[in-house]
Amino acid sequence: MATTSDNNILRSLDWITIVLYLVLLALGWMSVCGATYDFSQEGNFFDLGTRSGMQIVWIGTSILLSGAILLLDTRLFDTFANVLYLAFMVLLLVTPFVANDIHGSLSWIKIGTFSLQPAEFAKFSTALALAKLMGTYGFSLSRPRDFVAAAFLILLPMVLIVLQKETGSALVYLAFSLVLYREGMTGSLLFIGVAAVAYFVVGVRYDGDLVFGDMTSVGRLAVMLMACLFTAVLCGVYGEKGDSHGLRIAFYGMMVNGVAILVAWLTPWHFDVAWVSLAVVVASGLWLAWTAMRTRLVPYGLIALFALGSIGFYFAIDQIMDHLGDHQRIRIEVLLGLKDDPQGAGYNVSQAKIAIGSGGLEGKGFLMGTQTKLKYVPEQETDFIFCTVGEEEGFVGAAGVLVIYLLFILRLIRVAERQSEVFSRVYGYCVLSVFLFHVFINVGMVLGLTPVIGIPLPFFSYGGSSLWGFTILLFIFLKLDAVRKR
């Protein structure tokens, strides 16, 4: 009986995902070797005193762990989802009180000689709890009570992890909003969320950069232009069929802003172009509000609200940032990776770019990277591991790794979509959202495109907690998939 079930499980596993997982593990281990190898050391990568040796241990235990998960009964996941969630929330709550302070982070618990980071494991329990909630019969995100419940499940671990001063890990939970979107949360909510983040990041980061005779703040102008663009797009998506509001706003907005920018740029008559853009957005909003009143069409009213709300939101941030003390403002900027911190996040990113850029087409060769070997890139075996890939394997290797990640995520989408049970599908989306978010933020940070938020690159970054966490996350889903009703 047991044998046949084993055979079943092996046959019904999604081997494509597993192969991609193993390939990523292997490439990841090579990168850890490269990142921790020292020119002066005789390279024995299997020595447990080295990080490459320890990573072998983590990989081995992860594979054992995955086997164990595949042997579990899937009903356990459903049954214990809430208990597990509660248990991990308690663990997260007590962690800061028992944790050792490691570089200001209170997220590591020491057990014997090993340190574990509960936040890495809380992801799968949150995913399970979310899947259980949303898989309940009759659950609908359009019902406010259900939506709040789902949002609560996501926000609670975020708050607890922020208390551990691990803002980066907390932000990962934002990835679950992608799951909510898949399960029917109105897209505009996600859109508003993205817009708000974009306004905030762009507005704060580029506020001090002045152009056009030092009269116009780049940050402010960019936010106004984005607001104008978003408003036009929303009109196109949610407006009546054949309606021209969106086109008109886009067209006139482009005209007026373009002329204003040209005048401020090319003539000696300098002025703050942002005010012109602001006027365009306000006019668009008022026009849409008037249309809504005239035609009694709700969407126009909501879009008008979005346009005017964008401006309100921006000025609210502006006011808050202005009224904060310098010290607090800098802390917020550093926290979001918007400004160079005293230890030099800017330095890290510039050295990371040098490392990757110096790789060229084919890279310097395995173990030949100078930038990483000589410790120019900080945290090169953990958060900045992608530098080693870029430096030693070049464009071919780095782009190859990205393509493998893409295939991995697309495959997970495919697998998630073939689930008949909401529970499994929601869980699958949780898994792939977490991976997508990690790759997006981590690689983007190394390439200097996203804020410097210290989260690991799945299967590459050195460390047992994150590797175990990702493995558990993934293999619960593969187990669910293997036993799905066909």
């Binding site: 020119f39 898949r182 040098i354 998630a416």
Partner: protein
Amino acid sequence: MTHDYSKRSYVIGLVAVVIILIYIVRLFFLQLMSDDYKLRADSNAFLKRVQYPARGAITDRNGVLMVYNQPAYDIMVIMREQEGVDTLDVCASLGITPAFYAARMREIKDRKRNPGYSPYTQQLFMAQLNAEEFSRFQEKLFLYPGFYIQKRTIRQYNQPYAAHVLGDVAEVGPDDIERDSYYQGGDYIGKLGIERSYEKQLRGEKGVEILLRDVRGRIQGRYRDGQQDVRPVPGKNLTLGIDLELQKLGERLMRNKLGSIVAIEPSTGEILCMVSSPTYDPRIMVGRQRGRNQIEMQRDPMKPLLNRAIMGTYPPGSTFKTSQALTFLEEGIITPQTAYPCSHGFHFGHLTVGCHGHGSPLPLVPSIATSCNGYFCWGLYHMFGNRRKYASVQDAMTCWKDHMVAMGFGYALGIDLPGEKRGMIPNAAYYDKAYRGSWNGLTVVSISIGQGEVTLTPLQIANLGATIANRGWFITPHVVRKIQNDRLDSIYYERRYTKVARQHYETVATGMRSAVLGGTCRAANNGQYEVCGKTGTAQNRGHDHSVFMGFAPKDDPKIAIAVYVENGGWGANYGVPLGALMMEQYINGHLSEASEARAAEFENKVINYGNYVR
């Protein structure tokens, strides 16, 4: 009502595709569109440490070592490691004051003055300790963590002679680096003498060791185990034509006098000695005290740094008459039998060029022997006035000048030392300008006796002696005789012939021989070998300069010499005896007892120059 939202999976997939695409495009621009990052990574990681080759050694013509390299020791410090050192003890072992120590530490840490500063790497604390200072410090080095000793080499001299020939080395200046990209700040370059003119051969080729440097500036090993390193090529050794014993004697004899002695081996053009007085000890131009000593010597009114042998331009006086005799003979103005009258000088109208008492009229040989002014004034007068041979005085002048230039006057000879002066041989255009076209042989007659506008360097006078010794040719004088594994420049092999036939030289040599036998140079006569000589007493604003030019033996010349003693009076006062002693030293290899006594006597003679201004 349940909605089917499965289409949203495509939106999510699209988001993933777009993110990865953006990142791949970003990678493309970072990795493939510019070399900038590669260069920055290399400059991060590679520390190219220069490996200095040993500079070539210098020996005299007999193989006596004159210049070599001596280890000197720089004290280095790593700031991070030296904390907690007993600074008073360090000061005591180095012989410095605590105030100096503190000031030095401040300088090292000042990134404006020391742009390469890192607390993790070795910084220069004190440069060029000598062996004694070094050993005192080394004994206690183990007590001073963070302090290190770096060995480098500095020039060292076996003896205090020939400073002007040898020259010296010093740290490169900004213009040296601009001129030649071989040099980097902190390199050494020859500044004077052959150190400068043979810089390329002496310096060798620098090597480079490529080291890997980590983010804190610490060395982590060699790049590819040194496969890309370049080993330094040591500099070539030089053998000089200088005879150290002769040079030594020359410097002794010129003590407390201003002037120069130059000796040449006529057959090769090799400089046997080159004395310029006052001189200095080359050993003071080494190490930490170089800067101070150099400034001091630059301020010295006697100009000890000036190499008078090639930079001093003097009226040659009567030594020049030999060149006139050669010219007049070659041009057919006179024959050896032509006699000119001289009654205490040359008289023509109101013009008088005085002369001392001797028989009159005289033919050429006795005129050279007695150094008759009248004879050569008449010769020049007849040459410049000869309208059958020369269309104008200008043409005659040009012909004369061409002879002078062919003899090596008026232009730098091309010796292998920097800073050689060309002296002055006037031409027709010069006089046309000076006299507005209205001049003739009489106007310029004093050039025939080595006065007036004519000036030569002592080297050019000695070379005139060598040319007569060779009977009509010379090889460009040079101080370096041999370069290890290399050939000398071809100009130091090739004979340069003058425009005067050999038999005329024979006549002039006879004249110079008779000057020694019974004329102005009697003091140079000896029974062992035939000396030929010509005195000069050069008029100038002050007391006359004492000059001698000669060679010996007459028919197998080994040495040609010029002695120039500023304000030494008659040629016979200093020129002849000094020249005789020098020739004896070189030909016999030593001085006789009597000569030694005379050398000591001249060594102690002092010419008082008062407040010398030149």
